[in-house]
């Protein structure tokens, strides 16, 4: 048995994992990052549109600050988020972006003088002041009060990932790619690392560390139609679940993005609509203003996605060999803008669909349809990023639920979360590794490695009629059909039952090649049961949550039910042989909220079953605010009185802005 020891083990080499690794390495800890693929190929690279941070530099973002970003994030979450975490996030985001700039991320900058923008389908002239020239600029995204999304054209994730990955190399972080963690080593409620399979040699190794941080991204590939990369299978969350100790949270909270292109599912960034692109139906009619007169195409993602499907159901979809879709029209932005700021979008349209979106009229319209996009759920952690139940296990980024997105996330907040969580959690994680020792006998490590070794042999010895690829594809279709954008009790219950059957069928397969290395079918055979466990958490969570909140939309329970569902779902898998997860619930404490539940400002009104505590807390908040304002206290002092939060390093320092008086 080969044991690799280090101080801090990071599983997952996307933006969150790499940024956390820089944090631990900088604190003098030997750090290893394990990644399925070369880290610069991580799904983080696919983020096009941008990163939210309230810099307030550009004309249209002047006056922006943490408070506005906080309010947008809480509203966006449909009050499902942890407000303390949201505060930690909005306070650190401007620092994150400035740090990234110093690491070389070539953020698009404010150019003094006039430029044209399309706002609400009308050409508008914007004048940028001379004194803002050269500062980081930002664009509009859905669900935000100000233009807050900072970007590098439409390759933001790519430039950020390269910036952070290069910084990790600079600090000598030990990055090992083509390594897959397949089980967590733990004893007496404490995590000590992972059993890892080398994807080239097939060898099993143990990685033992003082602390382990999972940053493996989301689980979009349990759905058929998804914008996610093929590696986003949720295995990191699944191995945490399989400990039987750690919990996953809010797994039913799955976001669908309005504008992936049909049929490939490749995302056309929200920046398309942010920059002024519009949605059109079969008649070429711009339909979003009919449903959402105020926010139109820039309502929150869950709202826009549902309105599109609703419009298609009303008979206004465009027929195609792949079913009905609607059109995204960005030609009104003008060829110059597209070729400068939306070049990847243009290339995707040209290569995969033979369309040039800069062509005016129907010729340039791209077929789009909502598809799975983001996993709000994940490994349940405290605000420090540590699992609430398994000490020494941390999680950050999309794999985690720490939880700032609640039941719906705003565009530009996830790529922002990756680095911000990497900074905050990375530092708490480092402190944990500094304060704790490895205290596990090698015999225990051996037991965990042996268990996986036997499991792989068992899979190769299966002798049944089922096919692992067919099981996987059935799961994906099922999730789309019954656990998708619109959900109802009956089909959700059917989905849970069939997923349980599929999970049992995974033991009745035959893997044709018996090789332990270089055998893609063997990899499917141990991954698909893990994916099915994640799918069961999503489906069962959705079946039991009898309300609509954010992206979780029940056609049989249309209202957001604050009276009964101000709760977080917790999933565990206590016994190895269970065929479904165990669900519990934890209350969200309204009396501790800085912003008690209210209407989101988009979507249908009057769809809330109120919790009486909301009004009580709102009165409390109002009176504190009134009193302190009368005393001449500033917004920071008032915020502190309403809801205290902590941050490591100097991340709580006030963010300087060009517009500061």
């Amino acid at each position: 048995m080969k044991i690799n020891y280090c101080d801090a083990l990071v599983i997952g080499g996307g933006l969150a994992g790499l940024r956390a690794a820089v944090a631990t390495q900088k604190k003098g800890l030997s750090t290893i990052v394990l990644s399925l693929v070369p880290v610069k190929r991580s799904h983080s690279a696919a983020a096009q549109g941008g990163m939210q941070a309230s810099l307030g530099n550009a004309k249209m973002s002047d006056g922006d600050n943490e408070d506005l970003h906080f309010a947008d994030t809480v509203k966006g979450s449909d009050w499902g988020c942890d407000q303390e975490v949201a505060r930690m996030f909005v306070t650190t985001a401007p620092k994150a972006i400035r740090e990234l700039a110093s690491w070389g991320v070539p953020w698009s900058r404010v150019k003094a003088g006039t430029h044209e923008a399309v706002i609400n389908a009308k050409k508008t002239t914007i004048t940028e002041d001379e004194d803002r020239h050269g500062l980081i600029t930002s664009r509009d995204f859905g669900g935000t009060k100000k233009w807050r999304t900072c970007y590098t054209a439409d390759a933001t994730g790519h430039t950020m990932l390269f910036g952070v990955a290069n910084e990790a190399l600079k600090h000598d972080v030990d990055i090992r790619d083509r390594k897959e963690a397949i089980s967590i080593i733990h004893e007496n409620g404490r995590c000590f690392g992972a059993v890892v399979r080398d994807l080239i040699t097939g060898e099993l190794e143990a990685y033992v560390a003082k602390g382990t941080c999972i940053a493996t991204g989301g689980y979009g590939r349990i759905f058929k139609q998804t914008t996610n990369a093929v590696i986003c299978e949720g295995i990191g969350a699944a191995i945490a679940l399989e400990t039987g100790v750690a919990t996953l949270s809010n797994m039913e909270a799955v976001q669908f993005h309005p504008t992936p292109i049909v049929p490939s599912g490749i995302l056309l960034t929200e920046g398309c609509r942010g920059d002024g692109g519009v949605l059109r139906d079969v008649d070429g009619h711009r339909f979003m203003p009919d449903y959402e007169p105020e926010k139109k195409e820039l309502a929150s993602r869950d709202v826009v996605s549902r309105r599109m499907i609703e419009h298609i159901r009303n008979g206004k979809g465009v027929p195609s060999p792949y079913g009905f879709h609607v059109w995204l029209d960005i030609s009104i932005l003008g060829r110059e803008h597209i070729e400068r700021n939306l070049r990847d979008v243009q290339e995707i349209c040209q290569i995969f669909n033979g369309i040039d979106p800069a062509d005016e009229g129907p010729k340039g319209w791209a077929p789009v349809l909502p598809m799975q996009h983001y996993s709000m759920g994940g490994i349940r952690t405290k605000p420090t990023g540590e699992s609430t139940r398994l000490s020494g296990l941390f999680a950050c980024g999309e794999a985690a639920c720490w939880d700032m997105h609640g039941f719906n996330r705003l565009g530009g907040n996830s790529v922002s979360e990756t680095v911000v969580a990497g900074m905050i959690i990375g530092n708490y994680f480092a402190d944990y590794c500094l304060a704790n020792d490895v205290t596990i006998p090698t015999s225990t490590i051996q037991r965990f490695v042996d268990e996986q070794d036997q499991y792989l042999n068992e899979i190769l010895a299966y002798n049944g009629k089922e096919d692992i690829f067919k099981i996987k594809n059935r799961m994906k279709a099922l999730m789309d059909e019954k656990v998708g954008i619109f959900r109802t009790g009956g089909p959700l219950a059917e989905a849970v039952e069939e997923l349980k059957e599929l999970l049992q069928k995974t033991k009745h397969i035959t893997v044709k090649s018996k090789e332990r290395a270089g055998n893609p079918e063997l990899e499917e055979a141990y991954r698909v049961p893990k994916m099915l466990k994640i799918a069961l958490c999503v489906a069962k969570g959705a079946r039991d949550r009898t309300e609509s909140r954010g992206a979780h939309y029940r056609e049989d329970f249309l209202k957001r039910d604050d009276a009964n569902w101000m709760k977080r779902t917790l999933c565990t898998w206590p016994n190895k042989d269970d065929i479904e997860p165990t669900l519990e619930y934890a209350d969200l404490d309204i009396m501790k909220m800085e912003m008690p539940p209210a209407f989101r400002g988009y979507g249908a009104k009057g769809m809330i079953i109120e919790n009486e505590l909301s009004a009580t807390r709102q009165n409390e908040v109002d009176s504190i605010r009134e009193k302190m304002e009368a005393e001449g206290k500033d917004r920071f002092e008032i915020q502190e009185a309403l809801m205290h939060f902590d941050l490591p390093m100097n991340y709580k320092e006030k963010n300087e802005r060009a517009g500061d008086k």
């Binding site: 690279a45 400035r98 070389g104 953020w107 698009s108 995302l267 090649s513 079918e521």
Partner: protein
């Protein structure tokens, strides 16, 4: 769904497992029906799920963004995810793993290992002694300069330029077009305080900027259309002037 039957296409793949004692390089032919908009990502996934579960290849984003799926298609290195079958009129595609990289198996090569080495070699990160306070206003960068930096930062390190490079065949230690592009990128980034002399130390030899034979297949094949030719010529003029 359309019921019209697509044409039959042939995908020929060079299969080889260098870790197996018995495996020898050999071609395997797969025949399948073309579907509308079919890319090599779709075709190879179909082959693995239905015809040959043992076939190894790499995809991550399947959208031309991550650079995982470089392979040689009918003699040209290209991104497989963006390769539309419809663009091959005779419906026959022969696939080989990219040369110049360590072969893992079949179509899968170890670009990550090579790229990490390259990044460390050219110190592909910002070097500066300027202490940044991230609570304060960021340094101002001229928007056009930021944009010029971005234009070169768009490289996805797919390795296609390396697989296309004639110098690579003769000089295995050549830093490759991708490495030279990285230097050009940091050379124009105002955050980076390195001088031309510093860059000369990194690439001022025949394994660096003076090894390039200007055959320019790198630029011809670059899926991101990076201006490699101009940038290499610019660096060479700049660095040769130093000595």
């Amino acid at each position: 769904m359309s019921t019209q039957k697509g044409r039959e296409i042939t995908i020929r793949v060079l299969k080889f497992n260098p870790r197996s004692k018995v495996s020898k390089p050999h071609y395997v032919e797969y025949k399948l029906e073309e579907t509308p908009g079919m890319t090599l990502f779709i075709a190879l996934t179909y082959i693995r799920e239905n015809l040959d579960a043992d076939l190894s290849f790499d995809f991550v984003c399947r959208a031309g963004i991550c650079g995982s799926c470089g392979m040689v298609v009918n003699g040209k290195p290209t991104l497989a995810c963006r390769t539309l079958i419809a663009n091959y009129p005779d419906g026959v595609l022969t696939l080989l793993p990219m040369p110049a990289f360590e072969l893992i198996k079949d179509l899968s090569v170890n670009t990550g290992k090579w790229m990490d080495g390259m990044s460390k070699r050219v110190e592909s990160w910002i070097i500066s002694d300027h202490q940044v306070d991230i609570s304060k206003l960021e340094d101002r960068i001229d928007p056009d300069v930021a944009n010029d930096t971005f234009e070169l930062d768009r490289c996805i390190e797919c390795g296609i330029c390396v697989a296309s490079c004639g110098t690579m065949l003769m000089r295995p230690n050549f830093v490759g077009p991708v490495g030279l592009n990285r230097v050009a990128r940091f050379e124009i980034d105002p955050h980076d305080k390195r001088t031309a002399d510093d860059f000369y130390e990194l690439i001022g030899d025949d394994d660096g900027i003076f090894g390039c034979m200007s055959l320019m297949a790198c630029e011809d094949h670059c899926p991101k259309h990076l201006p490699l030719q101009n940038k290499i010529a610019y660096l060479r003029r700049k660095l040769v002037a130093l000595r």
